[in-house]
Symmetry: C2
């Protein structure tokens, strides 16, 4: 049943050699890789005005200059990333660029930041998507956490099916969103031009706002910088593009930046012109859509497209996280299991870990993850800073044609990213502080894991031809809980591998009459097999078993025998029935595995009915 | 480290024979067993007025007659339960009484209701206790879920330490609560009598309230019946009393009922006289305490005592749930693991399951479990009805002295409980409906488990002397992932038990150069051991291994050999390191256990560093 369900959800296994086919056209890449950046239009403007409106409604006109600065940064960062695409066509994630140019430690800071960040991407995008839905359909608001979790699980399933299928599937919402936003913006501007929409701004641009300070302006602007997140996705995924990879990737990046800038500027302008104020029940984008389209089909299409592109944005995390985890695992900074590929060539463990992490975040914050956005921005701009500055080192090393110009472009990117990190820490410390806790823990874990793998490899290395040891024979201890068909099978097997076979039973105080019953039954059924009855005053099976087996193992060793303990277990016909059996044998095996000189063998008795 | 922590938290293991000492005096029993009932004073009145205040503040005078009826019911139910104590001195839980008199099905309905109910007891009591804390210290309100969870974990730990220690410990809060309530009530009434407290009732008793209906009155009264929950606890625990058990238990029950009635009546009266209205931020009891004591030390002591007795009430669930689960497991309706006793003679699995269930409920409802109170009441009154009516059957069967009078008393209890169930379903269906979902599922599970244990026992029974089978020898397949010291140890062991030893390795496509490296290395190190290299196109280790082992097992069987697969695993020095190893060997063992003719042995290599 489980296998059938898995096949249905995940699809037919792919051969390793099938991988070549999974390549992206520009059209698909724009959908798969730019959704994160484009979808930030859904919350970027809101982040800026939410900071300003705390002072007064009039202060919201400052959203326009703040947005202007964000646009300049967008241009600079896009330029920087085009350079990374050309320099690292094999996928220049911040982890790779920072490691190659700055060294391992810095690379791990970038990698760790991004790992956390992809979880935040998924959590923030999915809950923003859910807000788009609940803005349009208010009665769903009380189920928003459940809706978010279902969306995460849905995206996880798509990803476990493998990347390409996801891509074809995901172009629709991205292009729908692009179409809907273009429609909303042009119709909105047309109506403004023809005077059909009322000017409703809280205050004219340039009007004096009491209490406005540079600090507040910087706080608003740095909150809006969350719109710049996701720009790096394309540069990380160059190897997935169709040939010519670099050119296709660079062009896709440019196209994305133009769209993002256009959308962000227009949405901010419309929100100012219409006098939209952020509130908890309806998103800014939804309010604009309602004002422009009215309460009709187009409004609902806009909300649907917003929700869907945010789901696709969450998917960006699902593309990037497993690859980053794979790279870290390959360098032995994360557990090897992140290198395992599933049936569909996806890195299943990474995908599942990410989904679990995002669901935990959504549950903790009860679906109100907007508080996480500044933290999310820090997690993006730290690796931005490290990879951009790494690029400067790269240009100095290679001294390619135009290396001075190139390094100046990356210097600009570095300075901007670095300043944003500084602003975020200074002005949003109340939401950003967990970064200072998480990173040291992650870095410590990376180094501990690395160290452990190194130590293990050194211990195991076989220097020359192995010297085999000849044992004289083997002792087998068979655990007996009650005398049944299972006992018969286990004893038969034990006699086939052992030169000395002994059965062992543990009895308790609780039922003194029953205590010797098992011994009696056993001796009747197996008169020729040695039997030991151990007594436990503490109702614990593992402790006396371990004590007895240790003695036996010592005696065996003296005779140059090996020692095997045979633990019988049931294999029930249906998986749920496992909870009804084997609790003791599980604990026994765990206890016995702590002994190097004892080999634990499991005799599986299959229940037929 | 883990073992040390466990010893510290749970205490030194107790011998099974130590059990006799765990007996309760009346003084301790009142604390341990009546806290559930007494603590319902903290929310009982509030439940009534919360229903009435929805109509109007004036309607709250109806709380007085509603409370009056609750008191009459309390008297009747107490009488009924005294009879159960005398008839079933061995612990007449509703499950036992209903099973013995009505039959298994009815008993399981009672047992299932109670299982769910004990979880609700814990969740409702702990969150009410947290409300008592946050009423007094408002800034803690935002951490209320976390506080509740910590309290549950704390009580769980106490219970894992064993019952008697808990009891000595827990007398303090119960008697503190009794003292504080007596003080509050007497000081309140004294001040009323001397005119120092102002009459502030919303409307005089008997005044006409527009819109008041019998239905609303019944709804309010049935909500207040939640105060009757917990009355059954003493009758379930008769065997834990000191001798004379029945008499001690019956007297404790009577004392408890008197206290409960007194407190409930007085609190309801004070809340009416002072015109206290329920609200979300402060409990009714806290408002009364503030009005009577003023904002001083006595008020804070009252809140502390309330919080603490509610914690002790939660503990009632922890005493009762594991015993009920034990009884159900003994009758093979629940997994055997609920019969295991921990080091301190407590039924650890039941205690842990209950804590997990309560924490899940608290998390789902974000600490606002007052919505669960009607459901909680249904879960109590259904087993009340079944056990009271079971007692009527009991009297008819035994025809003891006074059997007619006795059965009339129980008939009264039955009718009251049954009517309460009917009222709760009719008037609180919006919160009570989950009962109709949960019960069928539980009953189905009980029967399925019972059936399964029956089928298994029949399959395993050994009728006569076992016939042993003599195998001619054994085949051992050693899994090799890379050639290391682990391989040497595993091969040596395999040769000690096997007549035919073969090493097996699975290679992948991904790294064609490396593919034959392992084979080469192996042949260099172990020139005399047979080696098979399997190739997997799907990166899956278990599938090709299983296929190969099946073939080997078939060949072995033809030679009358047994087949053993030796899977090496690492035992790291620190438990956290397990996540870095053994993922594949875990999956392999799971896959190989699906074969009856293959025995899986684990070679544990202990990492030294």
């Amino acid at each position: 049943m489980w296998r059938y369900l898995k096949r249905l959800l995940i699809g037919k296994p792919l051969k390793t050699t099938d991988e070549g086919g999974q390549q992206l056209t520009k059209f698909k890449a724009l959908a798969l890789l730019s959704s994160d950046a484009l979808s930030s239009v859904a919350y970027g403007t809101e982040q800026i005005t939410a900071v300003l409106v705390v002072l007064s409604a009039a202060a919201t006109w400052y959203a326009l200059p703040a947005a202007g600065i964000v646009l300049i940064l967008l241009f600079a960062i896009t330029m920087s990333y085009r350079q990374i695409i050309h320099a690292y066509p094999s996928g220049g994630g911040a982890y790779v660029v920072a490691t190659k140019n700055w060294g391992t430690g810095t690379g791990l800071v970038a990698g760790g930041s991004l790992l956390v960040d992809y979880m935040l991407t998924v959590a923030v995008s999915v809950t923003s998507g859910t807000e788009a839905i609940t803005s349009a359909v208010p009665f769903l608001r009380e189920y928003s956490v459940a809706i978010s979790i279902v969306i995460v699980l849905f995206i996880m399933t798509l990803n476990l099916r493998g990347m390409r299928e996801s891509a074809s599937f995901l172009t629709v919402p991205v292009y729908l969103f692009i179409v809907m936003l273009v429609m909303m913006i042009s119709w909105g501007l047309f109506n403004i031009a023809t005077g059909r929409v009322q000017y409703n701004a809280a205050a004219p641009v340039g009007s004096f706002v009491p209490g406005m300070s540079l600090l507040l302006f910087l706080k608003a602007f740095s909150a809006g910088s969350s719109s710049l997140t996701g720009v790096e996705a394309i540069s990380n995924a160059v190897p997935n593009f169709k040939k010519p990879k670099r050119k296709n990737a660079a062009n896709t990046l440019a196209l994305m930046a133009v769209l993002l800038g256009l959308f962000f500027a227009s949405v901010t302008f419309l929100s100012y012109y219409l006098g939209v104020m952020p509130n908890n029940d309806e998103t800014v984008l939804s309010q604009i859509g309602m004002a422009v389209f009215g309460h009709g089909i187009l409004y609902y299409l806009l909300q649907l497209a917003t929700a869907m592109i945010l789901a696709v944005a969450a998917n960006t995390g699902f593309s990037a996280f497993p690859i980053l985890a794979y790279n870290l695992a390959k360098d032995k900074f994360m557990p090897h299991m992140f290198m395992d590929r599933g049936d569909r060539l996806a890195y299943s463990n990474g995908i599942i870990s990410l989904a679990v992490g995002a669901i935990v975040l959504i549950s903790i914050f009860h679906g109100q993850t907007s508080r996480l956005i500044p933290l999310y921005a820090v997690g993006v701009f730290v690796p931005f800073t490290l990879s951009q500055s790494g690029m400067i080192i790269h240009w100095f090393r290679t001294r390619d044609r135009n290396w001075i110009l190139n390094s100046l472009v990356n210097l600009l990117g570095t300075v901007i990213s670095f300043l944003l990190v500084v602003f975020l820490f200074l002005l949003h410390f109340d939401t950003v502080w967990p970064y200072l806790l998480i990173m040291p823990v992650l870095l410590y874990a990376f180094y501990k894991i690395h160290e452990h793998y190194g130590i293990v490899a050194a211990q195991l290395r076989l220097s020359e031809e192995a010297e085999l040891h000849d044992y004289a024979g083997s002792t087998v201890i068979v655990l007996v809980s009650s005398v049944t068909h299972v006992t018969t099978g286990a004893i038969n097997y034990a006699r086939s591998i052992g030169d000395y076979v002994i059965a062992m039973h543990v009895s308790f105080d609780e039922n003194p009459k029953k205590e010797h019953e098992t011994a009696k039954e056993f001796k009747e059924s197996f008169p020729d097999v040695r039997f030991v009855d151990l007594h436990s005053s503490y109702r614990s099976v593992p402790a006396p078993v371990l004590r007895f087996c240790d003695v036996m193992a010592k005696n065996s060793a003296q005779k140059n025998f090996t020692t095997t303990v045979l633990v019988p277990q049931f294999v029930p016909r249906k998986p749920w029935q496992n909870i009804l059996h084997n609790q003791t044998s599980l604990r026994l095996r765990a206890a016995l595995n702590s002994r190097e000189n004892i080999i634990v063998a499991t005799y599986s008795y299959h229940l037929k009915k």
